[in-house]
């Protein structure tokens, strides 16, 4: 009869991903590449915000973009056409998020020589991407006005892991009873360190501030 024994483990299921993510972060630091993980709900304006921001940073930073979606390549094409920067589409094969290994595979398909800033546009989803460290240097999310100012209360983990929260579509604020001050209060309840920048990707309002934040972060990353 086979003898059965029990091995005690007590290990987090996310541990191997966290390890992969730390390794990737270290590799990117050596290469001098800053990786931004951009997250949000579907339709919050990630791609439009990126296009405006990349064009605002033309000639100042070399940028490459990875678009992660369950299917299609509309986003990668849109970025390439509107900005001319290196842009690839990653398919998650039905998966609701990217993990560190998938991010590394994506980066392997980019030419990272001379790239200062790589941007990962994560799958549109406020739940799952928050659980998986992608190996990014910083996490950023977009909350758009029509989604409501109560979202930090409903998706606490996402807000607690983000260094920067962009509040997008502020041009339509009067139509949605969106309370920006209350929203900031909720964000800081979850994450006192989070920075908040109100923007409107359509009109370009606030994009200069986001671009300045990125430039500053990339500079600090390279200095370390």
């Amino acid at each position: 009869m086979d003898e059965i024994r029990v091995i005690e483990i007590k290990k987090s299921i996310f541990e191997d991903n966290d390890r992969d993510a730390d390794r990737l972060r270290e590799d990117l630091r050596k290469k001098g590449v800053f990786l931004l993980n951009l997250m949000s709900s579907p339709g919050s304006g990630k791609t439009t915000t990126l296009i405006k921001t990349i064009n605002a940073l033309k000639g100042q930073l070399n940028i490459a973009v990875m678009e992660a979606d369950i299917d299609s390549d509309v986003d990668a094409k849109k970025i390439l056409e509107a900005t001319g920067v290196q842009s690839i589409q990653l398919h998650t094969g039905g998966m609701c998020h990217l993990d560190a290994e998938m991010t590394r595979q994506g980066l392997d398909n980019l030419d990272l020589d001379d790239v200062d800033l790589a941007i990962l546009e994560n799958v549109g989803n406020l739940v799952c991407p928050a659980e998986f460290d992608t190996g990014s240097s910083k996490n950023c999310m977009i909350l758009s006005v029509p989604e409501g100012h109560d979202k930090p209360l409903k998706y606490p983990l996402m807000f607690s892991i983000c260094d920067l929260v962009l509040v997008n579509k502020i041009d339509v604020m009067p139509y949605f009873d969106f309370d920006l001050a209350l929203c900031e209060k909720y964000i800081h309840m979850r994450n006192p360190k989070a920075q908040v920048i109100p923007i409107c990707a359509k009109t370009g309002e606030g994009i200069d501030k986001f671009a300045a934040w990125l430039k500053d972060q990339v500079k600090k990353w390279k200095e370390n």
């Binding site: 086979d2 003898e3 091995i7 191997d16 998966m95 739940v127 309840m189």
Partner: protein, 123 residues
């Protein structure tokens, strides 16, 4: 929502542990799952049963899920309360100055294995 993804991570981790310990078969895996870990036990179970079929050492491994209740601590009145019922706001003093003590666990607690027969005489 991402049960299949975490099942794959879990299988990878258990496979590594099994290889390190030179086991022939994993009979079962015990998971500790917090009440507010965002993973739904029933779905995790379904994904597990589907995914292990493609495995070798783990092919017949059952998964046991132990639930961990979510408890929040209030820093103002120093009391604990059930998180799911009251959320971030302390039911005793209405403070928002609270934090989760337990309940977001997602751990592989232990695995039950059958060892490979000891290698013959020496090497």
């Amino acid at each position: 929502m991402h049960e299949l993804g975490v099942v794959f991570h879990c299988i990878k981790e258990v496979n590594e542990i099994a290889a390190e310990n030179n086991v022939a078969r994993v009979n079962s895996v015990t998971i500790q799952l917090g009440e507010v870990s965002t993973v739904i036990p029933e779905l995790f179970d379904d994904c597990w049963n589907w995914a292990v079929k493609k495995e070798t050492v783990l092919k017949d491994a059952k998964v046991h899920i132990e639930r961990v209740d979510a408890i929040t601590f209030c820093e103002d009145c120093k009391q604990e309360y059930p998180t799911v019922k009251y959320g971030k706001t302390c039911p005793y003093c209405s403070s928002l100055n609270t934090y989760l003590v337990q309940g977001n666990e997602f751990l592989i607690k232990e695995i039950e294995v059958v060892d490979n027969p000891p290698a013959g005489d020496g090497k």
